[in-house]
């Protein structure tokens, strides 16, 4: 009895391992890589352009109207991306739409950020550092204490691992004075000293209100931003930029994105849908990119099977949009056949890049693989315990491999 139980344990382990690896091996062998275009918008010809890597150093440059370009022509169409190279070639145009072009002016007036699935709620230690935002030094200095923020704010001296009571009290009082209701919920900052200045932390409190916490000359400064608490905030990102247009951006649970403007913390919604709602943005599956250039702004959303780009003006007035599509992974032949062969697949990474064992069943397509496995077992390998058939019925090919490898012992 124990001997049988032991055998089925081994079979179970083999099923787990093969369900983890075999579908991957299959995809590596048979799934054809699709060359996906990288969309961009040329302010020179006011047209969407793209380049597409075909492997072996072959790159295709073109626009959506059907013209093809050489690499040099393509670079000239996108002076805001390739200004350094163009300046070296002395081919940087003097001005576009009234904006005088130079490396310096472009760098000063451009900004980029992206929201990837792995940026949303990543694994992190809830201990933060607060920079001095009006420092006497040219660079930001990494402070000598850290703080924790949940039911209260506590500054910790990392050398002795003790709470600095005096500073904690001052900051707690400043936050309470500003109307902060503990416990804190989302704490968002940009804990790096490789930035031009510091805007501290954006914190949501128990009532959903958003506060900004900074340290100015050693003193706390806590400001109630007045951002609508009804806004279902999922994550706040902070990024200091010398353009000083926005502090950061907010991602909501409804997949909407807002910029937090320097102008009295007003919110400005970034369009994720153009005129039509197809290929709607979903933060769990897609990558969002936002480019600010001197003459316009680009929104690019990349998902499985499409890349969508929306171009808006400096004041977010709609200019143009374009979607390029290709066959998504689920609809490719290799992927469909995979679902017929294997009954299910185990994977360990979630889209947010956490590790978690999760199974995906290919119902009802997997019936074919299970049926064939059962048939093979019946035809070629009779005389085995009935439970072997149950195993194959439940796990298909994986079970077949396992029961054939590990022979039954009397």
């Amino acid at each position: 009895m124990l001997n049988k139980l032991s055998r089925y344990t081994i079979i179970l382990l083999i099923v787990i391992v093969s369900a983890l690896y075999l579908p991957d091996f299959y995809s590596v062998l048979f799934d054809k890589k699709v060359d996906t275009p990288r969309l961009d918008y040329s302010a020179v010809i006011n047209e969407f352009v793209y380049h597409n890597y075909h492997g072996m150093g072959q790159i295709e440059f073109g626009d959506v109207a059907g013209n093809t370009y050489s690499e040099r022509e393509y670079f000239q169409l996108l002076p805001f991306s390739y200004y350094a190279t163009l300046e070296k070639w002395q081919q940087l145009p003097a001005e576009i739409e009234g904006f005088e072009l130079s490396s310096k002016s472009i760098r000063k007036n451009s900004q980029y950020f992206s929201i990837k699935t792995k940026d949303i709620d990543p694994p992190s230690v809830p201990i933060y550092i607060l920079f001095e935002s009006e420092s006497e030094y040219a660079q930001l200095r990494v402070p000598e204490d850290v703080f924790r923020l949940e039911n209260t704010i506590e500054f910790i001296d990392p050398i002795t691992n003790t709470v600095i009571e005096e500073k904690s009290d001052r900051f707690r009082q400043a936050m309470l004075d500003a109307g902060f209701a503990f416990p804190a919920n989302i704490v968002a900052g940009n804990p790096t000293n490789r930035k031009p200045f510091d805007e501290g932390y954006f914190i949501t409190d128990a009532n959903g209100e958003v506060f900004q916490l900074k340290m100015v000359k050693g003193e706390p400064q806590c400001i109630k931003t007045g951002i609508d608490p009804e806004l279902d905030i999922r994550q706040i990102f902070v990024s200091e930029n010398l353009r000083k247009e926005f502090y950061g951006w907010i991602l909501t649970h409804d997949n909407e994105i807002y910029l937090i403007l320097y102008d009295q913390y007003k919110l400005r919604q970034v369009p994720t849908n153009g005129k039509n709602d197809n290929y709607a943005y979903n933060a769990d599956e897609m990558t969002f990119r936002f480019y600010t250039y001197p003459v316009n702004r680009h929104v690019r959303i990349d998902g499985d099977g499409f890349t969508k780009m929306i171009v808006v003006g400096n004041d977010f007035e709609y200019i143009d949009e374009h979607v390029e599509t290709w066959t998504p992974y689920d609809k490719r032949t290799a992927s469909i056949i995979k679902q017929f062969i294997f009954s299910f697949e185990l994977s360990t990474y979630t889209p947010e890049k956490y590790v978690k064992l999760q199974a995906e069943y290919f119902w009802p397509r997997n019936l074919l693989g299970i049926g064939l496995s059962l048939l093979a077992l019946l035809l070629f390998s009779r005389k085995r315990p009935w439970f072997d058939y149950v195993i194959v019925l439940l796990t298909g090919v994986y079970g077949l491999i396992a029961v054939l490898l590990i022979m039954h012992e009397e």
């Binding site: 344990t9 081994i10 391992v17 230690v125 590790v355 064992l357 012992e409």
Partner: protein, 112 residues
């Protein structure tokens, strides 16, 4: 049993040493990051004895491949506290001691 005691001893020791120098948040992350490694270590222990007891070389090779696949599961994190739920991983380790019986049975029967 001895293995379990050893793991608990090491785990508590780590807890003690880390909590002297670091705040509670860091301690929690350290322990949660090392837990899969302890599980992985136990998996190696059980599966090695499972391979060594097995008399036939063909089976040993099969078991070796399975062992690699299973142990790899516990070292998939690239940053701290990346394992979201550990229950499935704990269960897999928990059934592993059972596998040794089958190898032992074959060993006793003297299968080549």
């Amino acid at each position: 049993m001895f293995l379990l005691a050893e793991i608990i001893f090491l785990f508590l020791g780590l807890w003690l040493v880390v909590s002297i120098n670091y705040p509670a948040e860091v301690v929690q992350k350290v322990l949660m990051s090392t837990l899969p490694w302890f599980l992985g270590g136990s998996a190696v222990y059980f599966l090695t004895s499972f391979i060594i007891l097995e008399p036939s070389w063909t089976y040993r090779i099969i078991y070796g491949i399975v062992t690699y696949g299973l142990v790899d599961l516990y070292f998939r994190a690239s940053t701290y506290d990346q394992y979201k739920t550990l229950w499935a991983f704990i269960l897999i380790v928990a059934v592993m001691p059972l596998t040794i019986l089958f190898s032992g049975h074959r060993f006793r029967r003297g299968i080549k």
